[in-house]
Symmetry: D2
Subunit: 339 residues, 4 copies
Amino acid sequence: MIIVMKKGAGKEALAEVKKRIRELGYKAHVIHGESRDVIGAIGDERGKAILQSLESMPHVEAVVPILRPYKLASREIKPEPSVFELAPGVSIGGKELLVMAGPCSVEGESQLLETARAVKAAGAKILRGGAFKPRTSPYAFQGLEEEGLKLLAAAREVTGLPIVTEVVNPRDVDLVARYADVLQVGARNVQNFPLLRLLGQQNKPVLLKRGMSTTIQEFLMSAEYILSEGNQRVVLCERGIRTFETATRNTLDLSAVPVLKEQTHLPVVIDPSHSTGHASLVPAMCYAAVAAGCDGLLVEVHNDPETASCDGPQSLTPEDFSAVMEKLRRFAAAADRSL
Amino acid sequence: MIIVMKKGAGKEALAEVKKRIRELGYKAHVIHGESRDVIGAIGDERGKAILQSLESMPHVEAVVPILRPYKLASREIKPEPSVFELAPGVSIGGKELLVMAGPCSVEGESQLLETARAVKAAGAKILRGGAFKPRTSPYAFQGLEEEGLKLLAAAREVTGLPIVTEVVNPRDVDLVARYADVLQVGARNVQNFPLLRLLGQQNKPVLLKRGMSTTIQEFLMSAEYILSEGNQRVVLCERGIRTFETATRNTLDLSAVPVLKEQTHLPVVIDPSHSTGHASLVPAMCYAAVAAGCDGLLVEVHNDPETASCDGPQSLTPEDFSAVMEKLRRFAAAADRSL
Amino acid sequence: MIIVMKKGAGKEALAEVKKRIRELGYKAHVIHGESRDVIGAIGDERGKAILQSLESMPHVEAVVPILRPYKLASREIKPEPSVFELAPGVSIGGKELLVMAGPCSVEGESQLLETARAVKAAGAKILRGGAFKPRTSPYAFQGLEEEGLKLLAAAREVTGLPIVTEVVNPRDVDLVARYADVLQVGARNVQNFPLLRLLGQQNKPVLLKRGMSTTIQEFLMSAEYILSEGNQRVVLCERGIRTFETATRNTLDLSAVPVLKEQTHLPVVIDPSHSTGHASLVPAMCYAAVAAGCDGLLVEVHNDPETASCDGPQSLTPEDFSAVMEKLRRFAAAADRSL
Amino acid sequence: MIIVMKKGAGKEALAEVKKRIRELGYKAHVIHGESRDVIGAIGDERGKAILQSLESMPHVEAVVPILRPYKLASREIKPEPSVFELAPGVSIGGKELLVMAGPCSVEGESQLLETARAVKAAGAKILRGGAFKPRTSPYAFQGLEEEGLKLLAAAREVTGLPIVTEVVNPRDVDLVARYADVLQVGARNVQNFPLLRLLGQQNKPVLLKRGMSTTIQEFLMSAEYILSEGNQRVVLCERGIRTFETATRNTLDLSAVPVLKEQTHLPVVIDPSHSTGHASLVPAMCYAAVAAGCDGLLVEVHNDPETASCDGPQSLTPEDFSAVMEKLRRFAAAADRSL
């Protein structure tokens, strides 16, 4: 932390701030500048948030953090990328790209099975599908809940595809974990800390979606909640952020891929469906995501988008998905990845 | 819903879309335009989200909603403003403005009591204080939990001030409801739908904070979750939205006050502390909020901001708060409100 | 500037950075931290942007500015607020609030005169009206240009109201200055630096609008362009910033008022019309702006909004404006201002 | 345009609105809905902005545009992509990707020549470099102006590379056009309409950068200004938009590539340098941009980024640029493009 004094703050004011810094357990190091003094507070970074309260002192202009507050998620702690299994034989973070695909929500047996078979045939390695659906409107379809989980398990039985599905309520973590291979945290729950803590105590990998107005630093702090409880298998998923632009549902922040790759060892996947909101934009963003260096994709595919009870406009048909996967192999190769 | 056809879409395409609209339970009414056709879908508004899937049809350009999807929160259902008690003798939504004040988090007995007495003396009618604290970092102070609730109850005992405190986990709703008079939903949980549903089943009023990237329409849909479960006592709280501006912690969206007043009958309060993030900006925003027509304020006050374990820089001292209340009476009078 | 070294950067790397800092004319002061070193660069703040290039050095993690880069606009240079005349007898920045009102664009003689008389009767002190209109679409009405300026001058003749009008093209500065009392820079031109420089050489006050995505710091840097050319009469106008919210045309950033009041001595006015985009929201934002501490308002009034060639939906009728002014006096009094 | 009536608006109100619509030259077509009526206004789309004023009518709830207001830039007018020359032998919009590279600003002869030779050797086809620099601060380096243009022309002489450089002031259009092959409009001038109009009258291609808070629709309207004056050679450049995220200088909106490709026939290039602000992020975004389907890149390269007078941190070294170009060929091939 750098504490910036106000212009004209005298010696006494400086002494008082230094005293407070020491009381909070840090060393104070003053730089006398031309127009004002600044103080560096030296000590363990993780607790430094407490220094922010110094801004209430009358002669303090600002308290400026200079380091990142996460630790376990950081490349500084673990320089090499994390590679781990999401299910037996299905890894993420290594040379092979991982594509997860399936419908936004589980609507019924034939819908799910038909879609699951199609995405498997096209090369997807994990089946996605929502059983608990957080919807903006209380009047919209809310998911089949446990019935949906059973259908997902049945589809896994038939196709062999491991399943990833969202958990919304801390109460349901055990229930969902009984069925799912990978537990998904949706964008709206990226700062649902009780949920994150519980998932940190699970023995299942977690797919953590970035919130629509979460900074990359906050996103990594949310991952840190899970990691700090002991669960080291966290996959980060960028799914678009909220901006002023309305041509897309959200604005896919693809630069987040190289930023995250610099800052964290955790694998990064991209959701081109929720971010763009339009099926016609999904293929380009799949290719771009792989070129940007992501470790995998999470793509919405529906056997009949026109009748989908949720997010039809952004779902690929099985045919489109198959064509995307075909072309994606070329970009994967260009990126020295396999698919 | 207005379904916009692509330019050059022929008769057959139009017929197909009309057929789908009818299958979904709506009437289709075509307007033949100069460069393309549009179709109005007529029927119950609340289920119309399902029509969005028509965008997947090949000749459909866009599906444009023209009405607001909430109902119980709407002025159209209940034209006069809602006025209700938050605790015996403490109402909101009427002529009298309601000020809630207190520390960001409950830190200990003397801190809370001292602050509570001060805010009461200055004219606050409800004591605020966090026992469960959702913090961005897992390493930051997370609140005293039930111990904090007990301290709040003790402060109520001493001062007579009803208390508002946040509930973060659906699991804790009953626990918090045993102590609190008003249950607060924080900005991060504005779309925590299981939590909202549970609060809709409580017999306690709810203070619902807008999320930092929640549109006003989404905010009202979140209120609708609570209302639709039966709990009609929802207070809306604007607390700043996330924008590119960094001079303030968030950007206080004060225009939301007249917008909400037009669209909903629910009372609206403003949190000038979290929105600005700096104590020096809080007084001006208190006055502006009352002038804009809000029904109350939620203000952070700490007996010693320099030692606060959370959000010190945005907390007023008791002296400052008292001065703000004094001046606020003049703005309340100008707005034909009492305080 | 604070230069943050990467973790593990050795002595040599540090020495190299220190050498570069000295070469650029600054003194280097090192703080050895627990996990990394930081260097304070000491010297004249205004040229420090050049230090940003140090981020290209291999062992530098980040370069963090800690001071504000503007000078003439700063309270540190001139602690007391600037009060100056916009026209003979019409001051801004003092105890008396200044209301500027009139149509978005000058459309014709009777429209302008009728509106001018009405706003004068209601208490406005300056007439606003656009002759050069920057419009998003090349097919929209672009203003009457010099003909519009002549109509404005004629309206001044009749009513005695000084006029403020926008200049869009550096080429037109002299032309507009021949007619106008106050030269307005629109939001789209807040970083049109050649225009700002020319206006800095004029002997007429400038009303500078914040851009829709201009930070407060950038806004003050734009003012600095004008000030540094010699023209000290700059009025800052907040008119809404672009955010994700669509219920209003822009999001009025009223917290900018106390922020600007802390940072600069220049007067601050609010445009409640462009920011909200809806006439029904304008009155509440007028009252709030005055309560927040602004020095004046810029309000769109049109004698017949339903036929306005531009921005009708956000224009007040003369009757509504008159009612707003009436009520505004009460808020002005509460804020210890006159109107 | 769709005019939405308020709930409960009676027959008379409807008749009045229909009358106004007809007076403005449009046909009115009413749809009687369950809870309210809506009116479609039928007629020429380009002038429809005028209908927005109907929102001022007492029984009108909202006026909703359903079509895009640009025409010449639209795929509906010209379905096939535009391919044109930027200089003799250097085309854009076809199968071959175009890379423009060079320093942010022209600083001197050796800097420019050394960089120009390097980017040419690596495969760039156009040299970029700023002679007129719009800088946020009046105290920052503002460019060498005409001297810079001469150095650019000299570099073209030596290397054979055509040059693209920014024009900031309408006054300088002729001057810059005498030296440059392609005239660049910077992000801050995307809505500098007098400048756009003048460029529309030039016989040189224009590289139009998106503003940092310009929607895609507004961006195309700015292109329309140039096109409607007769100049059909407009290249669109996405360079990052302003969001809440601070890890990157701006947020590169790569989804804009497929969106623009659907909506317009104009070529689209990406600037990965200004958007990310960090050289280490540039390579990934170059690859992603090509995978997303762009027609070219605009990349900052500096022979010695550590000493750059502007934007050093985001500039690639010649060695890095050469490596990027090498790898880029593989992504170009995957995208069926040549480089």
